[in-house]
């Protein structure tokens, strides 16, 4: 029995739940969202990731109906959303501040949306009980928001926005207000709840670790545009631009010129330095300028010259000791800094290298990603 992989975006038969069609949003002269077209599928956990001001919150507020689209269309299950006000949309939102009504109890907060729909009383009671159970808040039903902890408040906000069983749940920095330790546990809890309820989640975050942990697909945004939308692994291993490579995780970028050789390209990056080699399915003209992106953990650091094509000599400039890992900043003769990371499987006192040591850096032909300049 092989489990089918959840990848509706690769299935031409799959119908998207949400379609952005050439959506542009302008505030006065400022373009917040610049002509974006993309789809989100049912049951997806879709993350919008980017620095503040990149337009991710605007994207979400357009879905919720708090901002009007300037140009283009947003479709939900094939229906144009433009004329539907926020209170009539089958979309609910979990706010960054949680926006819990301070004058209402936890129970009343969760029941708030159901009451607006004029649901019968016992149906409301059942649904709220179900939500309290899902979020493990049964004991706190009669408390007011200020009488519970930050983590509990976060769960109330989640329960409240899920109570109406929306087709789509929007989460605006849902874990931003929690401390680091709690955030990790909550990330898994969130994924768990998403799978249990089968709701489509769209999350906005500036925290890449959070996006990578929870999402089926991550959309990296910059300046009103989605730079790349793909699975966390692809975003990390196969970034499509220098921006994405640099934004996600740690990376060394080497600028050079490509020449086709065998399955890949040779990259000449500086006088007196050997050419580097990287395999790539992309096509580059001979002599075209390009960027080579290499993750520090894929760079080996040795005292002697290794027997590989990609080997560079340098001196250790800095060592960042992170406990489980150490990151070495190695300066080549050209002045270029290359980062290399090693796992600290040995005790510190037995470490091989120290400041000013001359070392060799090396990586395999498939380790680096070749990007257009």
């Amino acid at each position: 029995m092989s489990q089918t992989v959840f990848e509706p975006w690769n299935d031409p038969q799959a119908k998207p739940l949400i379609q952005f069609k050439n959506v542009t949003k302008r505030f006065g002269d400022f373009t917040a969202i610049d002509n974006q077209t993309f789809d989100i599928y049912e049951r997806e956990f879709f993350a919008l990731l980017g620095p503040s001001g990149c337009g991710k919150t605007t994207m979400m507020r357009m879905l919720a109906g708090f901002e009007k689209v300037t140009e283009g269309k947003i479709l939900l299950a094939g229906q144009d959303m433009a004329p539907i006000p926020p209170n009539k949309r089958a979309v609910n939102m979990m706010f960054q501040s949680y926006a819990l009504f301070p004058h209402l109890s936890v129970w009343e907060n969760i029941a708030f949306g159901l009451k607006r729909d004029k649901k019968p009383k016992d149906e409301i009671t059942d649904r709220v009980a179900q939500m309290l159970k899902l979020t493990r808040l049964e004991k706190f039903a009669q408390r007011k928001p200020h009488q519970i902890s930050g983590g509990q408040r976060q769960r109330v906000a989640l329960a409240r926005s899920l109570a109406k069983a929306p087709k789509l749940l929007l989460l605006d920095e849902p874990l931003g207000a929690l401390d680091a330790k709690l955030r990790q546990d909550t990330q898994f809890e969130l994924v768990d709840i998403q799978e249990k309820t089968g709701t489509t989640f769209v999350i906005v975050t500036h925290d890449q670790e959070e996006a990578m942990t929870v999402a089926t697909r991550v959309a990296v945004m910059d300046d009103g545009k989605i730079m790349q939308a793909d699975t966390p692994a692809n975003i990390y291993e196969r970034p499509n631009s220098v921006y994405v490579a640099d934004f996600i995780g740690d990376v060394t970028i080497i600028e050079g010129r490509a020449t086709k050789t065998g399955d890949g390209y040779d990259i000449a990056f500086a006088e007196g330095q050997p050419t580097l080699h990287a395999e790539s399915s992309k096509t580059f003209q001979n002599g075209q300028s390009c960027h080579l992106a290499i993750r520090p953990e894929k760079v080996a650091i040795t005292a002697d010259k290794p027997d590989t094509r990609n080997a560079l000599k340098g001196t250790i400039l800095d060592i960042a000791y992170l406990g489980n890992l150490s990151t070495y900043h190695v300066r080549l003769e050209t002045g270029q800094i290359v980062k290399a990371q090693t796992a600290n499987t040995r005790r510190l006192s037995r470490r091989n290298f120290t400041w000013e040591d001359t070392v060799w850096l090396s990586w395999t032909d498939t380790a680096a990603v070749l990007l257009e300049g």
């Binding site: 209170n87 939102m93 960054q96 926006a99 301070p102 004058h103 708030f112 607006r116 409240r160 926005s161």
Partner: protein, 270 residues
């Protein structure tokens, strides 16, 4: 800035003595037997008896309370609306004039406000009475209400209203189910402020009152212009007592509320 020094202790003691001594003396001498207010002739509560059997004072008190309740209630509604406009409505044509009209009455000398309203009522041939005082008091106290309420609205988390809309409320429902209950303390203080301003006002009421609608301050004014009066001392004592009890109760309630809240919050985090 925590330094309890001789200088600080002295300035506080003298300062509060200055603020309270006149009122304390007033209260003590309200229990004076003598008709001569400044000469002590033994303890007596007779002036309270005289006051409470003086129909004209009771009538004036009733008119004052009526005016204050009506004007502060209308002013609270109008002032809250004005605050919503000031904080929420962004730009609209005539906004500058609007905010000018909200802030101007706060600094307008009462004699001018009173005079101008009187001239309006005469111009429109409106008989002066309780209604005209209510209109006048509403107009200036709604501005105070709107200042109090808008200072609360500025710090109001708009996402609470968006959450209400998101969960299916109409704009109206969102206001009455979420916004209003949360800003209620500010609205209530606005009402109390409007109520007190109305109770307290002499000048504007003098301009806009008719012969049949004498308010308490007008009544007090006409008797103290002739000099000291033991009945007014008794009346003052009663008024001070009511205010003191009210303010102390209110501050105890809010203190208990905030202590409970702090305790709840501490308990919630553990």
């Amino acid at each position: 800035m925590r330094r309890v020094t001789w200088f600080n202790a002295t300035s506080l003691t003298l300062g509060f003595a200055f603020l309270y001594l006149p009122m304390v003396i007033l209260i003590i001498y309200s229990f004076n037997e003598s008709k001569l207010v400044t000469v002590w002739a033994g303890f007596s509560t007779k002036w309270y008896g005289e006051l409470l059997s003086n129909q004209s004072f009771l009538d004036a008190a009733w008119v004052t309370v009526k005016v204050a309740v009506m004007s502060s209630s209308i002013a609270t509604v109008l002032g809250t609306m004005a605050a919503l406009v000031l904080v929420r409505s962004g730009r609209f044509s005539g906004r500058t004039l609007f905010s000018g009209m909200i802030y101007a009455p706060l600094v307008m000398p009462e004699v001018i406000t009173g005079l101008s309203l009187l001239l309006l009522f005469i111009g429109l041939n409106i008989d002066r009475g309780v209604m005209t005082i209510v209109l006048a008091h509403t107009t200036f106290s709604m501005c105070f209400v709107s200042v109090v309420v808008s200072s609360r609205l500025v710090s109001f988390d708009r996402s609470l209203e968006e959450a209400a809309l998101d969960l299916g409320c109409s704009q109206m429902q969102a206001f009455f189910l979420v916004t209003l209950p949360i800003i209620a303390p500010a609205v209530i203080s606005g009402w109390l402020l409007a109520f007190t301003l109305s109770l307290d006002d002499l000048v504007i009421a003098s301009f806009t009152a008719g012969p049949s609608s004498t308010t308490l301050p007008i009544k007090i004014w006409s008797s103290i212009r002739l000099g000291l009066s033991p009945e007014i001392n008794a009346l003052s004592t009663l008024m001070i007592a009511v205010v003191t009890v009210g303010v102390i109760t209110a501050s105890l309630i809010s203190k208990r509320g905030s202590l409970k809240r702090q305790a709840d919050e501490r308990a919630a985090e553990t």
